[in-house]
C-alpha cells in the first residue's frame, strides 16, 4: 500500500465513522461500493467533499469517469496523484 493509499484509507474510515474497519486490514484494491467497504451514494458525496477539502480536487461531471475513480482506494489514490501533478 502506498503512503497516499494508506492516508486515504485512514481518512475515509475517520470521515465516515467506520469504526469496525481497521486501516491496516483494508486491501487498497477492495471495492468501495457493493464490496468490502459497503459504502453508498451518500458516502460517495462525503468522499468527494473530502477530496475537495483535503487535496483541493474538483470532481468532474463525467459519471462513468467518476465511477472509475471511485472504484477503490487504489483508483482514488491514482486520481488524486494525477490531479496533483496536473
Amino acid at each position: 500500500m502506498s503512503d497516499l493509499e494508506a492516508e486515504l484509507t485512514r481518512l475515509i474510515i475517520e470521515t465516515l465513522g467506520l469504526e469496525d474497519l481497521r486501516a491496516s486490514d483494508m486491501d487498497p484494491a477492495a471495492l468501495l461500493f457493493d464490496g468490502d467497504w459497503g459504502l453508498d451514494s451518500v458516502d460517495a458525496l462525503e468522499i468527494g467533499l473530502l477530496l475537495q477539502n483535503r487535496y483541493r480536487i474538483q470532481i468532474g461531471d463525467d459519471k462513468a469517469q467518476n465511477r472509475a475513480h471511485f472504484e477503490s482506494v487504489r483508483t482514488l489514490a491514482a486520481f488524486v496523484a494525477a490531479q496533483r501533478t496536473a
Binding site: T15, L16, G17, E19, D20, G38, V42, D43, L45, E46
Partner: protein, 566 residues
C-alpha cells in the same frame, strides 16, 4: 368471592373480605375512605393530586376523593416540572414520603366519619392519568368510573377463571393506568388480596411468591428481561398462575424463558393510557381484542380503536401499524418512529425488526447517531448463539453479518453504521426505549471499563461493585484463537483501578499472592467484585463472583503510600 362494582365498593352491605396481603380488609377501606372524604369536604378540596407508592394509601385516596366528589389526579409518575405545573391546578396533595412535603397522608389520622351511603357517580370524569403528547409533555387523560369498571370487568371475563383467588403482586407502579387497573382496581372489584408495595427487584417478587399459594404477577418487559437464571425460581415454580406484561413488546426468547422457569407463559397486554387495554396475547403472535374493544385499520394503516373503555362515542387513532387477521391483528410497529436520513424516511422499527429476527439477536434499538454523515446506530443484545458467534468469529464478523441482514431488508442508507453490543438495550421502567440513554451509548467510543450498575460499601475499607461485562469492551475485540474470556490480568487491573477510586488506595502495585482463577468471565456476564483493603493500605483482597459461583480471588500487594511519593 363476589364481584363488587367499583362505584359501589363503599356500600356497607357487602360481606367483609381481605384487601391487602398484610391483613387490611374492606371494612378498613370503607372506614378510611369515609374519614378522608369528610376531611376533604371540610377543606373544600375538589381537585386532589395523589403521590404514593403504597397501593393501600392510593385506594384510600381514590375512594375518599371520589366519595367527596373530587377529581383525583395521579401525579406520582410526573416529572418535577409537570408536577409543579399541576400544583397550580389542584387544591392540594395527598400522599406520603418526601416527594411533596405539603402532602396529607390519605390515611390520616382523621376523625371518625359516617360511612358513605350514596353510590358514586359513574359518568363523571373522576380520575386523571397521563399520556405523553407529541412534544413529550404529559397530556391529561380523564377517566370515569364507568370506563374503569367496564375495563376491569372485561379483564375478569378473559382472565378471571385462571386467576381464582390468586394474590396480586406487581413490579410496575400502581400510579400508571396499567398498574392501577391490574394491581389495584381489578383486585378490589374481584376480591383478590393485593400487595401494597411495588416489587422493584426480581428477588423480592420471587421471595413474596414463595409464601403464596397462587399469584398474579403484574410486570413489564423491563423486569422480565432482567430475570436471570441465578434467581430462586424453584420457590415460585407452580405458584404463579398468570404473568401480565405491558408497556412494550416482550422479546420472544424472554417469554420462552419465563415459561420454562414458571410453567406459565406471560400474557402481554397492548394498550395505552388513552385507550386503556386494547388486546392481549400469550401463545400466538397475533393480538386478541379485549371484550368491548373494536380494532380496525385506518387510512394510515394504523389501529383505530373503538372501545367501551373510552368515553362514549370516542374513537382513537393510534400510531401503531397493524394488519388484521382472523380474530385479531398483528402489530407492525410504531409509525411515528421514523428517522429522516438524507431526506429519506427510514422506519426505525423496520431496521429493529430486521435485527431482532436474526438468530443471534435477542433485542435491538436503532436511532440516528451524530456521526458524519448522520446515520443509524444500533444497540444490539446478542443471545447465547450470537455471543458464541462473537466469541468464535470476533466483533467485525458479527457486525458484518448483521449489516448484511439489514441491507437485505431495507435501503442501504438505513443500514446501521455503528453497532454497540451490550448486555441490554436502555429502556425506562415501563419498558419503553430510553432515547437519550441509547444516544449516549451510541455516541460514546467503545468502552475499556465495564458498566458499574451498583456500588455498595458495607464496611470501612470494603466495597462491592456490580459490573456488567459488555461485549463491546476493548479487551474482547479482535479475533480469539480460543474462546475469548476476560483475561486475568484485566481482572486484576480493574480491581486496582476500582480500589484506587473507591478505597483511596494509592501505594504503588508491588505484587500479588494466593491468586486463584476458578471460572471464566465471558462477554455479557454480570459479575460482582468485592474489594477489601487492609488498614495500612498495603494489601487488597479481591473477589469476583458470578451469581453464587466464585470466579477468581486473590490478594494484591502495594508499597507503602509514603514510598510512592518518591
Amino acid at each position: 368471592m363476589s364481584w363488587i362494582p367499583l362505584a359501589r365498593l363503599l356500600e356497607p352491605g357487602w360481606d367483609n373480605r381481605p384487601v391487602t396481603l398484610d391483613g387490611l380488609d374492606l371494612r378498613a377501606l370503607q372506614d378510611a375512605a369515609a374519614r378522608l372524604a369528610a376531611e376533604l369536604r371540610r377543606r373544600g378540596w375538589t381537585r386532589v393530586a395523589v403521590v404514593t407508592d403504597d397501593a393501600w394509601r392510593l385506594a384510600v385516596a381514590l375512594w375518599g376523593g371520589w366519595s367527596a366528589g373530587a377529581v383525583v389526579y395521579l401525579a406520582g409518575t410526573l416529572g418535577s416540572d409537570s408536577a409543579a405545573r399541576l400544583a397550580d391546578q389542584v387544591d392540594g396533595w395527598l400522599g406520603e414520603g418526601t416527594a411533596r412535603p405539603d402532602a396529607l397522608d390519605p390515611i390520616g389520622p382523621w376523625p371518625e366519619a359516617p360511612a358513605a351511603n350514596e353510590p358514586l357517580d359513574t359518568a363523571r370524569p373522576c380520575l386523571i392519568v397521563w399520556t405523553s403528547g407529541s412534544t413529550g409533555a404529559p397530556v391529561a387523560v380523564p377517566k370515569s368510573l364507568a370506563q374503569l369498571e367496564t375495563e376491569v370487568a372485561a379483564q375478569e371475563v378473559v382472565f378471571g377463571a385462571r386467576l381464582g383467588q390468586a394474590a396480586v403482586l406487581g413490579t410496575v407502579s400502581a400510579q400508571h393506568l396499567y398498574g392501577l387497573l391490574f394491581r389495584l382496581l381489578w383486585p378490589l372489584a374481584a376480591g383478590r388480596p393485593l400487595d401494597r408495595a411495588q416489587c422493584s427487584f426480581p428477588e423480592d417478587l420471587i421471595a413474596k411468591t414463595g409464601r403464596l399459594d397462587g399469584a398474579l404477577w403484574v410486570t413489564s418487559p423491563a423486569i422480565l428481561r432482567r430475570m436471570g437464571d441465578g434467581l430462586a425460581w424453584s420457590n415460585a415454580m407452580g405458584r404463579v398462575v398468570m404473568v401480565s406484561s405491558s408497556g412494550g413488546p416482550l422479546p420472544a426468547d424472554t417469554a420462552t424463558r419465563i415459561h420454562a422457569r414458571l410453567g406459565v407463559r406471560p400474557t402481554e397486554i397492548f394498550g395505552s393510557s388513552e385507550t386503556g387495554g386494547v388486546a392481549w396475547r400469550d401463545v400466538d403472535a397475533w393480538w386478541r381484542p379485549l371484550p368491548g374493544v373494536d380494532v380496525t385499520v385506518n387510512a394510515d394503516g394504523c389501529a383505530r380503536v373503538r372501545s367501551d373503555f373510552l368515553p362514549p362515542g370516542e374513537v382513537v387513532d393510534t400510531a401503531d401499524a397493524i394488519t388484521l387477521v382472523d380474530g385479531g391483528f398483528l402489530l407492525q410497529g410504531r409509525q411515528d418512529r421514523i428517522a429522516k436520513i438524507e431526506e429519506k424516511r427510514v422506519s426505525l422499527v423496520a431496521v429493529e425488526a430486521a435485527l431482532t429476527e436474526h438468530a443471534w439477536v435477542s433485542d435491538a434499538a436503532v436511532q440516528l447517531v451524530p456521526v458524519a454523515p448522520s446515520r443509524l446506530g444500533a444497540v444490539v443484545v446478542l443471545n447465547d448463539q450470537g455471543l458464541r458467534a462473537f466469541l468464535e468469529q470476533g466483533r467485525k464478523a458479527v457486525t458484518d453479518v448483521l449489516r448484511a441482514t439489514v441491507r437485505a431488508r431495507v435501503e442501504t442508507i438505513a443500514v446501521p453504521r455503528r453497532f454497540r453490543l451490550r448486555a441490554e438495550v436502555p429502556r425506562n421502567s415501563q419498558g419503553k426505549l430510553d432515547g437519550p440513554a441509547i444516544a449516549a451509548v451510541l455516541a460514546a467510543p467503545l468502552p475499556v471499563m465495564p458498566t458499574v450498575t451498583q456500588t455498595t460499601s458495607s464496611a470501612d475499607g470494603q466495597v462491592t461493585l456490580r459490573l456488567v461485562v459488555e461485549p463491546d469492551l476493548a479487551c474482547f475485540q479482535g479475533h480469539f484463537p480460543t474462546l475469548p474470556i476476560l483475561p486475568g490480568v484485566v481482572q486484576i487491573d480493574w480491581a486496582v483501578r476500582y480500589a484506587r477510586e473507591h478505597l483511596g488506595l494509592n501505594g504503588r502495585f508491588s505484587g500479588m499472592e494466593n491468586i486463584k482463577f476458578a471460572q471464566m468471565i465471558r462477554p455479557g456476564d454480570t459479575v460482582e467484585l468485592t474489594l477489601e483493603r487492609d488498614p495500612d493500605g498495603r494489601r487488597l483482597g479481591f473477589r469476583y463472583a458470578c451469581g453464587v459461583a466464585e470466579v477468581s480471588r486473590g490478594r494484591l500487594l502495594f508499597l507503602d503510600p509514603a514510598d510512592a511519593v518518591t
